[in-house]
Amino acid sequence: MAKVTIPIGPQHPALKEPECFIVTLDGERISHMDMRLGYNHRGVEKACEARTYVQDIYLIERVCGICSHSHSTCFVQAVEEIAGLQIPPRATYIRTLVAELERIHSHLLWLGVAGHEIGFDTLLMYTWRDREAVMDIFAALTGNRVNYGMNTLGGVRRDFTKEQLAEVLKVVDICEERTKYYIEVCTQEPTLINRLTGVGTLSHEDAMRLGTVGPTGRASAVDKDVRRDDPYLAYKDLSFKVIIDNHNDVFGRAVVRVLELMESYKLIREIIAKMPDGPVTVKAPRKIQAGEAFSRYEAPRGEDTHYVKANGTDKPERVRVRAPTMANLQSVAKMLENNNLADVPIAIAAIDPCFSCTDRMIGIRRGRGTGNSMRWDDLRNYGVKWYRKQGIDFTDLNRKLAKKQE
């Protein structure tokens, strides 16, 4: 069968420009995939060297808008380690609370996006509506829905009152109720199971070899979780399960994330129950003594690492950031081997890449060079229709879910 190469990239249909993913098809099956990245490269690491440590906290927070607290905490941990600062226990607990709330909002966001990619739009609407409860809590606790600005060198910038913490518990109760329902849907609806099983398969050996982290790795039985292996913040005092699954496919990745949501609810209750009293910040020097530190953090998407080198001034010598998506992108090519073209949107979405990475268009070049173009939305619709022909259709499920909520 003739091979067809399909470039998938943030390009306009009319232009020949560098693509993000280049997929080579053998009939309907993907035989090979290449990657070209860098569209969101802003030069943050270089910019960090020209700004003070405190300014860098705000810059680093905006590396990714979904796990902003992850990046800012990972960075500030490294700086505090170099400076030899011991932050007060209450600050540690507050940072941990925000971290788990961030995990909840991120996983709910992912559930919605995954639903959208397979045509299960009702799930998008419901999970994002539930997510709004968490966004409200963030706005009440930190002043912003995203990019909370909670961290400062030496602790956190705000304290939480007993009343605010009581509100958090109420929101957690609501979300837990809703998540139980999503777990039911994910694990028992045959349409969903059929759609996601066997898609984007990544064997355990490949996942280990390619350095896959986070829920993507844990769905292939890669037993890595920085919270347990390399404890930071308050995690060594908290008890939680690391969710490991061995489905090795997109279905497994969905299961891992919804079960992690349940663990996060338990963690938040434990954090609030155990939160010590006391100050929330210690005085930090403006100039940080020479030294280096390597900080790791379990962001919702996986292991986030920051390396910081200080040189005795008020600006860092070097800041090296590795977001979890970068570690997982290596495995996308492997995952999509021998999958169908129709599986591309959900397989890429299942590693939970940053949203802008999924904002793409596709150019299709047929064997003889005649051009034709498809957008990401069209590939998504193609995928939905293709699976409908195989008998996997979400129309009824959309309707059923909508009815249940009335």
Partner: protein, 163 residues
Amino acid sequence: MANEEAIKKELTDKFPFLADKIVIKRERRLFADVGQDHFREVFEHAAKKMDFVHLCIITGLDDGDNLLFIYHMARMDGTVLNVKTTAPKSNPVIKTITDIFPGGVIYERELVDLLGAKVEGLPPGKRYPLPDDWPANQYPLRKDWNPDMLEGKDGRKEEVKNG
């Protein structure tokens, strides 16, 4: 810190030249200074015989006359061994480690683009992360580079055509 001491001992027993080059910064963090000549054997031993099976990231930095490379390797128990090596700017050649860690290819490409390192054995592929029209011999992460050096490339505001 029995765990970290054991790692240090195993490395210095196997590689005596590392005797005073390994520092235990805190629990679960070791830093080792290895010259280019012996880098590969130390790295391979750590990856294959000491269970440092996860390469977190490779950090490249500008260290005056040299480029400094730090390979951050982790074990399943959370210990991180940071292996440092250098190469002079006049000949910034290092060898690839993608035969051991295939996922490291993107980190090595970043060293090439942003620091001007040359990685022997790096599999062919598209560059990362700079755009294709980035001027040659400009390495943003070098200390002697600043964004003004890009001025004049596209200084004039683009005329936008309507319709």
